[in-house]
Symmetry: C2
Subunit: 531 residues, 2 copies
């Protein structure tokens, strides 16, 4: 289907069904502007839970939304016409480029190209989002309908700016389901983040850095800011200038959310400064296991004392180069364990009898199975959190985004071993699996993290629901939110005060000096004259 | 009783009863090193609650401990012999000086003297604490007994350093019940605290400051640091150098607590950066009301529609100058309300029939009474939190320490009016009470704060207990605690990285410049020669 024909379908759908503005309910009215992919998987859990609490939820989507379905039993969708979103095609194209880069990453020129490729992809994504915002804001019909609905809350993922714009326009309190924003890692937007111990995503650093790692960290910080300031921010700021009067800085809108439901947990994330309106809900997607389908259970039981290995590379990666899958399959074939591998690409020729390829798997229930020995994962937040919840050690094969950084957090705590896709072959994978399965420290570390993670006064999902409803009850959470970000930078960092105090001290010292010199000259001269 | 005779009593007590090391119990074994005064009132609540959970608690005290009694049903006391603590006499002397200063504070020289008087008092208090530490550490008997007891946890208030020393010596995980440390406001020790919006205690600033207030804030920050660095820290550091090998910086020990149970709540405190191991328990001392004694209830009911005013100036202030109390009593006499005034000093001559003087009052139950209209308070944290919990507006008469700053936090939110003891007379007090009683915004503001404060997923006291037990279960909370404070300052602030990057850029630019100049000279010369 060409983009054009897709557009036509969207328009006709818009005419026939589009805004299924939900019926009234006893709870609050929540407008959700989500993201695609694994971000939606997260948001969907919150939406289901909020629906369970009796709230009515409307979700904004584009006509070609990849994950956000038009018809759902627990939310109403609002399809914005004539608007393209990030679909499977777009993602596949971007991902195959990223994997190619990753495999050839030894070359520094390749790293530079990767940075600009990512920057360019991000620019395109934000351009799509800006088009979505424009299409909403230019449609009187949509804006009137949204306005008339009198929502109580905007719930959004701030990697894209659309929810932020809509919240400001509709004057709604705003809650983020967040780990990343349009800038980068979410904390950096509202929390002091000393670069000496807070690693920048992509730098591969932990919270303990030597001098050269700290230099690298600062360098990555500048790269991150450069991408945001010169490619993403200007697009949003132009829309702010066009649609908002009095004028407002986009970054201020971004920083102004009432509550930040942060999808990390300090069992996983390195300890760092935070803010009163950041609520940590890492692992909110995890839950106790349910029984497996009989065929999977039988397969697992057939592994005997050796147990099983689970492999999944997440929502995005459906396909890998044939030579890579052949090596992976060959490594598996040598193992006494059984392997369950979620993979929808071409069946590798080297696949052993001990390996079961599946299109989809109940990942949480598999990771919670007592026979599971190790989880081979790409390092996406969801998978890492689930492994942590169930105390299963990880062999990580990171590809892009935050995956390497997520895995580093587990590796630093002794629960994971990281392999590079660039050097992955059957021998390295086999050796890594042997090490993680046979060296008890990996499992013990993950089980310790699992105990720490579960030892909380309130479950992460309950915490998320509480704070979303808190914001609805009190129409915001102003008392938890500093407005210091509205200060100009030289005031925020007290540069003006420092300069003033320095000037005062300088003037005072110079005055004393000149007075003394004057007196000295005067008296010396008089003395000489007298002499 | 002279200090000497007090000492003798202490020694004999030591011989007869001293270390009542508690019997074993199913729960954990907790060692508590508390503070006196209102700090003990707070700690006592935690101790009672921990005892209720089945833990065994030993409390370190000096023989003349003012608040920490030797015999208790819910803790065992450990009296350190030959050690003087802060008693009523010491406090009364310091307070009368402070009140005198406050009344004559218009003079700037008085402010300077006040600063040095406070610094001197603080020096003396920390000297006492250092003597307590020395006496403990030098007594093999005490140290052996403490060591043999194999405690699970140190619970301490870090205004004094004794608990910190003992925790390090006995290698115990440590939890603070904290608002202040030996340095100043607790957050400043472990959390980035930009001076542009975080007011220093004593500066009288809020979180929104103009340029001059920011200059004042920086100035107060230096005063606070000067006091700590030159008077308090060296005393503790000397003991660290003497008793700890390998050497350790006292400030590192102070920063190293596993959990900081912070006695504030962001309904009260201005929003500011925090850390994962700071747990906010502000208002943990508040509880729903119980029925009042019949005489108090009858007195209150006799106020009819006018209601009652409650006045208390806290744990410390038992006495005020006669002229001040006469003015206060005269203002009360003019009011249609009834007044309950906790005051143990001389009965004022101007006292009206509507005013009841009491030695002690059930403050929480009185503030929760529906007929209570206003609370006249000095601004101590406990009273302010109780007023906030029950939604009662405050007329504040601050004297010293953090009292003015606490009241500013309520005033900024519309719930309090502050009077100065320097200008207090019957007219100003009468007018302030009239305003706060008759202007509904004060009560509405406090009720809004009360609702916000009570709307929590877990009660503050339960939260405190959870985290204390968490630290005992896991023998610390290392995953929540950054160790970035162990970095040297130039690394923490990335000064070394900045200098290096600057040098690299400079060398690069200069190299280019000199190469170009060399080439230019060479080619120009050759050209000239050729010509």
């Amino acid at each position: 289907m060409t983009p054009f024909s897709k557009n036509m379908v969207s328009v006709s759908l818009w005419i026939t069904v589009t805004i299924l503005f939900g019926s009234l309910c006893d709870g609050g009215k929540i407008l959700v502007v989500p993201l695609e992919g694994s971000h939606w998987v997260n948001m969907d859990i919150l939406i289901k839970a909020l629906h369970g609490q009796g709230h009515s939820i409307d979700v904004i989507r584009t006509y070609n939304s990849w994950f956000v379905k038009e018809n759902s039993t627990y939310y109403n969708s609002i399809t914005i016409p004539n608007t393209t979103g990030m679909d499977e095609e777009f993602v596949d194209d971007m991902l195959s480029k990223l994997i190619d880069h990753e495999r050839g990453k030894s070359h520094w020129l390749s790293a530079v190209q990767l940075y600009f490729d990512i920057t360019s992809s991000m620019y395109k994504i934000h351009k799509m989002v800006c088009q979505l915002i424009t299409n909403m804001f230019e449609s009187e019909k949509i804006m009137k309908a949204l306005h008339d609905k009198q929502y109580d809350l905007m719930l959004t993922d701030p990697v894209w700016g659309a929810g932020i714009f809509l919240a400001h326009k509709l004057k709604l309190p705003m809650v983020y389901n967040v780990r990343w924003t349009t800038t980068g890692e979410g904390h950096f937007d509202i929390t002091p983040s000393p670069l000496s111990y807070i690693p920048i995503t992509g730098s591969g650093n932990s919270d303990k850095m030597n001098f050269f790692q700290r230099v690298k960290n600062v360098f990555y910080y500048f790269l991150m800011n450069f991408q945001y300031s010169y490619f993403n921010l200007p697009q949003y700021q132009a829309l702010c200038d066009k649609y908002f009067h009095p004028p407002v800085r986009f970054h201020e809108l971004l920083q102004g959310a009432d509550i930040w439901l942060m999808r990390v947990d300090f069992v996983f994330e390195f300890p760092r400064p935070t803010m009163p309106n950041i609520i940590y809900i890492g692992g909110f997607q995890c839950k106790p296991v349910k029984a497996l389908p009989q065929d999977l259970e039988d397969f697992i039981q057939s592994s005997g004392e050796h147990g099983v290995i689970i492999m999944s590379l997440g929502t995005f990666i459906s396909d890998l180069p044939d030579d890579v899958t052949a090596e992976i399959a060959a490594a598996f074939a040598q193992l006494p364990q059984k392997v369950i591998w979620r993979y929808t690409g071409k069946r590798p020729s080297t696949l052993g009898n001990n390996t079961l390829l599946v299109d989809w798997m109940p990942q949480n229930d598999l990771l919670g199975h007592p026979k599971t020995k190790v989880f081979i994962a790409h390092g996406g937040t969801n998978g890492v959190q689930e492994a942590l919840y169930h105390g299963i050690p990880v062999v990580g094969i990171p590809f892009f985004f935050d995956q390497y950084d997520n895995l580093i957090r587990l590796q630093e705590r002794g629960g994971a071993k990281i392999l590079s896709i660039a050097t992955l072959d059957k021998n390295t994978l086999y050796a890594a699996l042997q090490e993680v399965i046979n060296e008890p420290s990996y499992r013990l570390s993950m089980q310790r993290l699992s105990h720490l993670h579960k030892d909380k006064p309130i479950k992460p999902l309950d915490s998320a629901l509480f704070w979303i409803e808190f914001v609805m009850r009190h129409k915001g959470a102003a008392h938890l939110r500093t407005e210091s970000y509205k200060l100009p930078w030289y005031s925020y960092y007290s540069v003006d005060v420092a300069v003033t105090l320095f000037a005062v001290v300088l003037i005072f010292t110079l005055s004393i000096f000149f007075i003394l010199r004057y007196l000295c000259v005067k008296f010396c001269c008089r003395k000489r004259k007298t002499e």
